[in-house]
Symmetry: C2
Subunit: 487 residues, 2 copies
């Protein structure tokens, strides 16, 4: 706390309040003015000023601050801090920043920082590096840290094994509340914070749990077995995917969960504070996938990385767009004779695309929350088909009428032709919105059954269906119905 | 527990294990077979069989089960259970089911069930009803419940006041660990579960917190002030939006947070288990909004409700599609002379739409996680423009070459015309992908600055831009460059 450091840019009250004093805007983000004064301090190589500005910040806010700095300022900051960021800040950095920061810090400093962290946080810092880099950093770590970290990193990414911490408090069922409290007061190796005592049988299999609040409310002589919750005891196998772990926490309002090995023995614990962020991440992954963006991209990737990761998805889209335009090319003769078809065809395709995206979004979400299951799939498919059909009919009437009137008013054809064109638009609309509803639900369900992620690549299949069907039905019908009449 | 009830459909072991026995599929959802045997029990009006099948289920699973039943079975089940669902099941139902269930149960039974719940859960059950219905139900509730519930419902929906529970444990800073534990053992009105003791000053303002695990680890004579965490103490004003509350929990890994009134006095507590589901909900709202679906829709809405809620968004899309087709109509003369333009124009528009959606998705996500703030907005806008430009150049080369070759090979024109067409496609692609990148970030940022939700309605603006720009630049250039040459 360098209270006597003169800082010109920012007015600081004598006793800074725990939050605020101009660092945070109303929406809880750091203000541009504050970020600028931090940049200035870094560029002036004034470590005391930096410390004075940031010593009241939570490590998570410092991590955000570093994300908001320019790249050269980030590097200058690390140099200013003696070549390393604090370990707890490292654990809060976004993945897209971490790699670069680790590069700048160098293996020895990273190893030093990582040794200060819990295994789950340390594994988070290292997991995105390639194996060579990981090995290099671990070679600088003390032997016991190295072994624990290797064990954590050996579990698959996004598995319960990666998420869990190895520290927890377990008790046999016959202990009393008093015995447990005495034991807690005497033990050094307890986790920093925990919320439940796990009750285990002689084989170390979890059989129940006691929330700490229950423990505190109970008299010392109470036997654990009489107050433990054993009904619906949830345990998590070490290999479980983090998405499933998140689902358990959400479904059963869990606060912590015991992690077990193949023999169902308790080996670790996952706590809810690690799950909150994960729930957001998992849902964002679905959202990004639907938007055609790779999951592990962020605002701090380089322009080159971003171009590359977006390129691949756009290339897939190009292929499907060419497919759709080949359908159009089939009917170039009809378009040559009735240019109105070229004007109207994107409307039919666009409505189908939007209706398909609506259904797809609802379905991907319902699959993620497990509201859509094998038990109600058939019913929901029929429901979506019916919704597509009904909206198809409504928009067929609206757009059919509009198209007919517009065609007639433009003087492109007679009343008969106009009615026929309206009819063609209407039928194409009904067929395309029905197909959109069906594709919107059948594509993600099929992908899921095939073991794929329903969010990834569903969108491209669905819009391919709606484009191809939309153009084919509209132009095909138009060619069949209008051309003989027009000629 | 009706162990002696004969149940034909399901084989149940003598001592049912805590999880499984065929109720759950591998993906943790209820199996169709299990749902069917529950339906059968309900249709046979066999209350014992229903009880036997479901007594091991968590209330959250029972709520899911009810969602999976057909509507008539739901009503039959309520009748079978004496006209009411258990209160804890009611609290776990999806919003789209709740209204119907409450209708079937009737106000008296609902009031009875609601009285058993904590205020936050009770408010959840009642909040989506209209005021008249709420008043009717509350009139059946005992006076003290009625007052507490009215107070909870008076807070705005999705505010901290709605989320908080009024039960918490607070302590002055001068108490000892022993005093607190004795007090907890003697007090009846403690919350069911809690994770922290809030430390308050004489004005009942929160000044720190002590995790229960710290309390348990500390000797009885320890003074609270010496173990409390006061640095970066977070409190939540009762009016704070739940999205901001969720952000605080996620950013600072909170487990519970004190809620304060205007005078900064402690009046309630929000715990993390209520936040996990909310984080998913808030993110899903963004995802649904981007997909053009209203946030409060679910699989159990009626077909009519679904058609209506989807219709409005499709109607907006129809307007923008018509706008785009009016742009096409401007150039009908050019299309009539060169039909290839009609074939190629959707490709340019579609690539722009996809690139815009990519940027939009990343931006909406970054705004939600507060990674994109006033401090880095300019830099990220330039970055997205550059990404759009670079991908535009790449796809201009690819698609320009393809279009030229295809045009030449189709025999529609000579080598010169083919080169010009390729050039037109290329330039239109560059311009549209650049505009897509800019629209993808500027639209949601502007909406947010204007106080609107950037997820809602961004998509329609962005695709309007990419459609209009795509068609206009491509067809306009083609008309300017190709028509004189072709004539």
């Amino acid at each position: 706390m360098s209270e006597n450091t003169p800082i010109d840019e920012v007015a600081r009250p004598d006793a800074p309040p725990p939050e605020g004093d101009g660092q945070f805007a109303e929406d809880q983000t750091l203000t541009p003015e504050f970020v600028r004064s931090v940049s200035d301090a870094i560029e002036a190589e004034d470590a005391d000023a930096f410390e004075g500005l940031t010593n009241e910040l939570h490590p998570a806010d410092v991590a955000d601050l570093i994300g908001l700095l320019h790249e050269e300022d980030r590097e200058a900051l690390i140099a200013l801090l003696g070549g390393a960021l604090p370990a707890e800040v490292l654990a809060e950095l976004d993945e897209d920043l971490l790699e670069h920061i680790i590069e700048v810090m160098g293996p020895a400093k990273v190893a030093e920082a990582v040794a200060e962290l819990d295994t789950d946080d340390a594994a988070f810092v290292l997991e995105d590096l390639d194996e060579e880099k990981q090995a290099e950093i671990l070679s600088y770590a003390p032997i016991e840290d190295r072994l624990a970290l290797r064990a954590a990193l050996d579990f698959e990414e996004e598995s319960a094994g990666r998420l869990m911490q190895r520290e927890f408090f377990a008790s046999p069922a016959f202990w009393t509340v008093g015995q447990i409290i005495d034991r807690m007061r005497g033990t050094e190796e307890l986790p920093d914070t925990f919320y439940e005592v796990f009750v285990v049988d002689p084989a170390f299999k979890p059989v129940g749990s006691v929330p700490l609040s229950t423990l505190l409310k109970s008299p010392r002589e109470t036997v654990i077995e009489t107050i433990m919750i054993s009904r619906n005891m949830r345990t998590v196998p070490v290999t479980m995917d983090q998405e499933e772990v998140a689902y358990l926490f959400e479904q059963y309002n869990l606060i912590s969960v015991p992690v077990v090995d193949d023999a169902e023995r308790l080996i670790g614990m996952i706590t809810v504070d690690d799950v909150v962020e994960m729930v957001r991440e998992e849902t964002h992954e679905d959202m990004l996938a639907l938007g055609g963006v790779e999951a592990d991209t962020g605002l701090n990737d380089t322009v080159f990385e971003t171009v590359r990761s977006r390129f691949s998805w756009l290339a897939v889209n190009l292929v499907t767009a060419i497919l759709a335009s080949l359908v159009i090319a089939l009917f170039d003769g009809a378009i040559g004779q009735i240019v109105a078809l070229a004007v109207l065809m994107p409307i039919v395709a666009s409505m189908g695309g939007n209706a398909g995206t609506q259904t797809l979004t609802v379905v991907v979400r319902s699959l993620a929350t497990k509201d859509l299951t094998a038990s109600n799939a058939t019913r929901i498919v029929l429901r979506e088909a019916l919704v597509g059909l009904l909206n198809g009919v409504l928009f067929a009437i609206i757009m059919g009428a509009l198209a007919g009137v517009w065609y007639f008013a433009s003087g492109w054809g007679g009343q008969d032709d106009a009615m026929r064109l309206g009819l063609v638009v209407g039928v194409a609309m009904v067929v395309n919105l029905l197909c959109a509803g069906l594709a919107g639900i059948l594509v993600p369900i099929s992908l899921q059954r095939a073991g794929a992620d329903p969010a990834v690549s569903s969108a491209v299949f669905v819009t391919t269906v709606t484009d191809v069907v939309g153009f084919f039905v509209f132009l095909g019908l138009a060619a069949a119905v209008l051309l003989p009449a027009a000629s």
